[in-house]
Symmetry: C2
Subunit: 194 residues, 2 copies
């Protein structure tokens, strides 16, 4: 058992060492090099990835070959195609490494197994899901109501650390605009600061 996920679950979800022992067979460890795929379109997703170090992203490629980034996951975040995982369907998405990344791969039933033996984790799991819903709802709200500039400002407010680590064109893709547009938005913003 890795130290980090261990610590994370003990601190945040009140999971005990003994409980972690019981389900240790549902874990694998891996590293992905920058650019390496954790999931490809068409595959069924069999794991939830917990990022110990590094950065993963989930994205689709449309019929014009353009990438659309659904989610980033850096340290202490879970990422997965829950659609594919939970409903056992081929994924529409890719997941790959933006940086060299160390992950823990959790089996499909890791969460339910841990839920069965730990009521505290059960609540924590619900917290994770509710939080995910909240975040997605926020994003939908921004996408239907806010300009490119407002969305960018929200992004840097929410994920200030990612700005340093993610190339600008990926942020543009996450925001649903072109790299050129983001460049111009940033130019405007520095202008107004002076």
């Amino acid at each position: 058992m890795t130290q980090k996920l261990n610590t994370y679950l003990k601190e945040n979800a009140g999971v005990t060492d003994q409980q972690l022992e019981e389900i240790s067979d549902k874990l694998q460890f891996r590293t992905f090099q920058k650019g390496e795929f954790a999931l490809r379109e068409g595959q069924v997703c069999h794991h939830i990835f917990y990022v110990e170090e590094g950065l993963l992203r989930q994205y689709s490629i449309d019929h014009l070959g353009k990438e659309h980034i659904i989610q980033f996951a850096n340290e202490r975040w879970f990422i997965s195609d829950r659609s594919s995982l939970f409903f056992n369907q081929p994924s529409d998405f890719f997941i790959d490494a933006v940086e060299d990344t160390k992950v823990v791969m959790l089996d499909t039933d890791f969460f339910s197994a841990l839920s069965d033996i730990s009521p505290q984790f059960r609540r924590y799991n619900e917290y994770i899901l509710q939080n995910h819903i909240r975040q997605l709802q926020n994003r939908v709200h921004l996408l239907i109501s806010a300009s490119a500039e407002a969305r960018y400002l929200d992004f840097i407010r929410l994920y200030p650390d990612l700005i340093q680590r993610v190339p600008q064109w990926m942020i543009a893709s996450y925001l649903g605009i072109t790299p050129e547009s983001l460049s111009r938005v940033r130019k405007e913003l520095t202008k107004n600061k002076e």
Copy 2:
């Protein structure tokens, strides 16, 4: 206990009559007339609403006074501001009735209480949450990658019944476009069919 939620939980989540008895104090029944509010911006949301009959919508109003619809909920759907409910914060949203609507109002702890006494419901609750995430992810994906026309086509594919029940300007608001744009999109579509 209303017949409909009762039946729903028994059929979909394997909940027993006895279990339903135990938590019957966490339920209230209400009707909302068309236009009546179930939740206003600034209030803390204390319930999850299960729609037995009718149609609710959740939306925000921006600084220009424009409405942005986050979600519709018709028969057999749950709706709530989970952000406000789960994290006990004032809501950014309104929920009101698009049609006269009969609902069951579930207390904040209804779901966790039922989860504690029914492992089957626990899994069903997780299913609901996962499904919600899947739906929201899909919507984010459409919003960052698809044109107004494509988003509208997706809407009528997913919610064919709502087309009949929801005024066009609300659909536009849900899609993140103006009523005028939606009108033009529809005009184009009928043209191409001929």
